[in-house]
Each structure stands twice: as C-alpha cells, then as structure tokens.
Amino acid sequence: MRLSLSSRLSVVLALLPALMVMIVVYIGATGWTVWMSLTNSRMLPNNNFVGLRQYESLFGNDRWITSVHNVVIYGVLFVSLALAVGFLLAVAIDQRVRAEDTIRSIYLYPYSMSFVVTGLVWQWLLNPSLGIQHVLRSWGFAGATFDWIVRPERAIYCLVVAGVWQASGLVMAIMLAGLRGIDDEIWKAARIDGLPKWRVYASIVIPMMGASFATAAVLLSTAVVRLYDLSVAMTNGGPGIASEVPAKFVMDHLFERANIGLATAAATTMLVTVIAVVAPYLYWRARKGDIR
C-alpha cells in the first residue's frame, strides 16, 4: 500500500504517543531499572556501581527463591483453575438458564472489587478460628478442618482460591462469547449423532475454543506476573514467607525496605524471564502471519 506523504505523516503522528511512551517510559525506565540493579542504591538512587552483587544476594535470598517458587505454583494452578472454572461457568450459563443476566453479573462482580478489602474478607473466611472451619465446627462437624491459610506449605493455595474467585468471572465472559460463537449446526449434528452433551463439550467444543482459551490465558498470565495486592491483603506473604511473590518482593524492597538495588535486580530478573517466555511466543505468532 503506497502512502502519500500526508498519510504517512498522519500515521507517524498517531503512533507518536505510543512511540514516546515506549522509548521514554518503557525503554527508559527499563534501562534505569537495569542500571539501578547494578548499583547499591538504598532509599534514593545512586550511581555506585557494584557489579552483579545485588543479583548474588538476590539468588542467595530465601524469600526471593520462595517467591519465584510460589509464583510458579500459583501461576500454574491459577491459570488452569480459572480457565476450568470460567469455562464450566460459561457452559452452565449457556444452558439457557433462567435469570442469565443476573447470574452472569454475580460471576463477574468480583472483578470490579479491589483486593484491598476483599483480601481481608478472604483472610477471615479461610481463617480456621474465624471462618469456614469455625462455622462448620459450630454446626457440629467437629472434625472439619480447613486451615490452609495458616499452614506455610498450603498458604499459597489460599491465594489461588481467592484469585480464581476474582478472575474466573472474566474468563467466563470470554468463554461465553466463544461458546456463543459456535455454529448452531454443530450442535444439531452432534445431537443427530447421538452424542451425550458432556461428550460434545469434551471432544468437539473445547477443541474449537482455542482462541478463547488463548485470550483468557494471556490475560491471566499478565495477572500472575503482576500478582501483588492479593498476597498483601490476604496473607501479607505469610505465614512467614510462605506466600511471598516476586512483585511483592520488588515492592517491599523498593519502598518499605528502601533497597532499590535489590528491588531492581529482582525486577530485572522478572523482566528477562518474561521476555524469554513471551518473545518466542510472539515470534511464533509472527511466523504464523498473525502479526503483520
């Protein structure tokens, strides 16, 4: 497509904000971050080059190691559960149920609430002496035990419970859109073939919804990497450091602990990891001709 000069100017003008943001903010700030990670900056940035010492102490830091470990567990569970729950919800709603709009909104509303307080509520609910376990026992189920949030090796799963609670409504919406996009005639064909409904979903519908699953998975993945307020509000990383996550490591060290050097080293590590994962994906998509 040959563009006249004025068209080309327009395009450049339109992309100028994006370019500026990209260069000044993202590339500039990222560069600054990487540089800071090579200094011994504490509360205020300084330029005392210390080489890779921050990285050394980062990878010798139990809390960081635990954080990385946790984000992997959380990521895998959260993404797969949110996809599964969201999909099931969408399937349920798709059965022409009554009050569909209301139910859909009920599934969707958690997405509108910040974790500042909902985290606290989840903390209460999961707390053994306050929440569900307490209620169950007071109903006479003496043996009922649900105390994951106070058990270091289980606490991260509690974050998953709340995370799924918040995100699966969004997944539901995406999946519902995907389901509604499936040709009615496929359903008819399956009925004529005498396939049971679950079989249709399992063998035909799910394979057809690749696009919806991909969209949802990308959105959920960004949420995983950025996971912060959930951990702060629900467990504040605890018990101990059992439910710490990388973004919280960065934040805590950036502000509360006034350790910019270490925080930026952690951030740089995250950034490199993301690029290592996302870049091949983008490249693959570009190869497929999806990105022009």
Binding site: D183, A189, I192, D193, G194, L195, R199, I204, P207
Partner: protein, 361 residues
C-alpha cells in the same frame, strides 16, 4: 431401517409468538426424493429440524417408518442429516468425523470400519480420511458431511441446503453425486433448497413453500409447467417466467388481451370455465417462439438487450405497448438490440392466473 416413509400430521411450530408452521400435513413415500423449495424464511429448515427432532413441536405428530417419533430423541429416529454449513467437527480428522457417532453409540470396530470404507469409497473420500476439515475444499467438506450421514445407515436422509455454500461448478458436481446416491441407496430423502435448478433436477416431488404453507406439492414437471399460483410460477424457473397483465376475452375463441397485443388461448387447458376477467398471463422465456412475421398469431416486439449465456442467449424485448419480457434463444442467432422480432406464445405452454387471487385459471 431402510425405506421409511415420513408422515407429518397437523404440525404446528412456533417461536414465541411467531407461528412458523401452522397445521402442516405432508406425506413422503418410502424411497422418495422430496425437495422443499421456497424463499428464505418460509419455514423449510424449521420443518426439517422438526422431522429430525431438533426443535419442539407445538402440536401434531411426526411418524417415520410407521412409528410415532414426535417426542423421540434425534438419534432414535433413524434419520441422518446434512447441514448447509457442513457442521463438521473442526478438530477431528475426516475419519473421526464420520465414525465418532458410531463409536459413541458403541458400534463394534469392524462394523465401523466396514461402513466407513463403504461410504468413503462411495463419496471418493478414501484419500482424504486423515485430513482435517480445514485442509479440505468446500466440495470435499460437503462430501464428508454427506459421508457422516451415510454411515448412519438411516432410513431417512435430511439435507438442509447442503450445496448453497458452494460455487456453481461444485454445486453441479455434487448435485449429480447426491442423485446417484439416492438411486443407489434407495433411501428416503428430504432436501431443502432455495435453488430451483437443484429442486428440478433432484426431486421426485417438490413441495413449494411460502410463509409456512405448502403451496404446491407435485412432480418437478408439473411444478414447472403448471404452477398452481403466481407465487409458484414466479419462484420456480430461471430466468424467471414473464408476466403480462391483461384480460381474458372470449369473443371469437378464447384469447388474452394485453394493451394492443392479442394472444390466442386455443389449446390452453382451463381449470374452470373461463370468465372475461382481468388476468395475468405467464410464459417462460424458453417457450416464446420466434416465428415468421406473417404468422397470424405473431406479435411484434423490439429487442432491447441480448445476454449471451453460453449455450443460449437471453433476449430482452418490449411489446408495442411497452410490456417488457425475456425470451431464450439459440446463442448463434444474430440478434442485436434494436431488431424487431415476430413472436408466438404457444397456448399450451402458457399459464393464466387470476389477477386478484393469483390462482391458476
């Protein structure tokens, strides 16, 4: 369950407040090829889906092979169905698409293999069995969809505009294939289309529908030659039938008068005694004859446009009084816009309709 007949009694179907089919009766003989023909939205798919058990009926009964299946599950009706959009399972191979229903029904492996082989051979799909739908052309996809129906060994095959997503050439090809299939299987087939060529070439009988009502149920020949009303006349046939408004005059042998032109009706078989009333004369383009200009029944007309269509040409003319109509003529005739022709409208090919009711006279 081969050669089942289909019997539909007082069928009523509606969506919400909308009545789509109202008291519809239809009997399809075993082994018959019935085509449902009609404009978009007239209820063809609705009827077909009701036969398949894919939508609920309000009242009435559906019998297939003598059994009342009004409330039976689709899979228990002994039917198979082919859809307009193919509706292939996109992530499954052709083989899987065709065998999946049988597998789920628990048919033994060797029986599945046998039927699959048979259908694949019949439809020339053997080479394609391991491909996925997106690796197939439109025509191949539709063949697979037919194959999926075939392996069910059903007594009744239902087709919902199976060819309308294909281009002309493929359409012609698959049309022949379906016709052959019918001859070979001898199964009952009900076939929805809004393409009249398909209807005419395939059907034993055609049911022309409009607004949920069957207007005419007859052989293709009768539908084409003796449409019962103006709707059927205009809907069937392409290029379309010409309609010339005028009136019947019985002074000195029945004739049709339109403006200054006068057409003999000698030889036209009236359904009832003719009256001197406003009427519409219908004639198909291919029935208009070019004759010598001294023919006593000849009407002069001026050529306005010539559309060559390969084998023949469509000639657009105007009568002296301005009535426009078309005629079909040998492609080789050296006709040009502006020429004047002498035309004859053979009475035995005409159709006459009441001006008001549109019913055939």
């Amino acid at each position: 369950m081969q050669r089942a007949n289909v019997d539909i009694r007082s069928l009523r179907i509606g969506f919400g407040g909308l009545k789509v089919l109202d008291n519809l009766n239809l009997h399809v003989e075993a082994s018959e090829f019935l085509v449902l023909l009609g404009p978009s939205g007239c209820g063809k798919s609705t009827l077909l889906n009701a036969i398949a058990g894919l939508i609920d009926v309000k009242s009435g009964e559906i019998h297939i092979g003598g059994r009342d299946v009004t409330w039976a599950e689709p899979k228990d009706r002994g039917i198979a169905m082919v859809f307009q959009s193919y509706a292939l399972y996109p992530r499954m191979t052709v083989r899987k698409n065709m065998s999946f229903g049988l597998q789920v029904a628990g048919t033994p492996q060797d029986e599945i293999g046998r039927r699959l082989g048979e259908a694949a051979q019949m439809l020339r799909l053997t080479e394609l069995l391991d491909r996925r739908p997106f690796e197939l052309s439109g025509g191949q996809r539709q063949r697979v969809a037919i194959g999926r129906a075939l392996v069910r060994h059903a007594g009744v095959y239902l087709f919902d505009e199976p060819l309308s997503n294909l281009d002309a050439q493929l359409r012609a090809e698959l049309r022949v294939e379906i016709k052959r299939l019918h001859a070979r299987l001898g199964a009952t087939m009900i076939y929805v289309t809004h393409d009249q060529i398909e209807a005419l070439t395939l059907a034993d009988r055609i049911a022309v529908m409009q607004g949920g009502v069957i207007q005419q149920l007859d052989t293709p020949k009768m539908i084409y030659r003796a449409p019962v009303n103006r709707f059927v006349a205009s809907f069937v046939g392409s290029p379309a039938m010409n309609f010339i408004p005028g009136s019947i005059a019985r002074d000195g042998g029945a004739a049709f008068v339109a403006g200054t032109s006068r057409f003999s009706l000698n030889g036209y078989v009236f359904r009832g005694p003719p009256t001197d009333a406003p009427a519409v004369l219908g004639i198909r383009p291919e029935h208009v004859e070019v004759t010598a200009s001294d023919d006593p029944f000849a009407v002069p007309a001026r050529v306005e446009m010539v559309e060559p269509m390969g084998a023949d040409s469509l000639i657009w003319c105007r009568l002296a009084d301005g009535t426009a109509f078309s005629l079909r003529h040998d492609a080789d005739a050296p006709l040009r816009a502006g020429d004047t022709l002498a035309l004859r409208f053979p009475p035995e090919t005409l159709s006459l309709f009441d001006d008001k009711s549109g019913q055939r006279l």
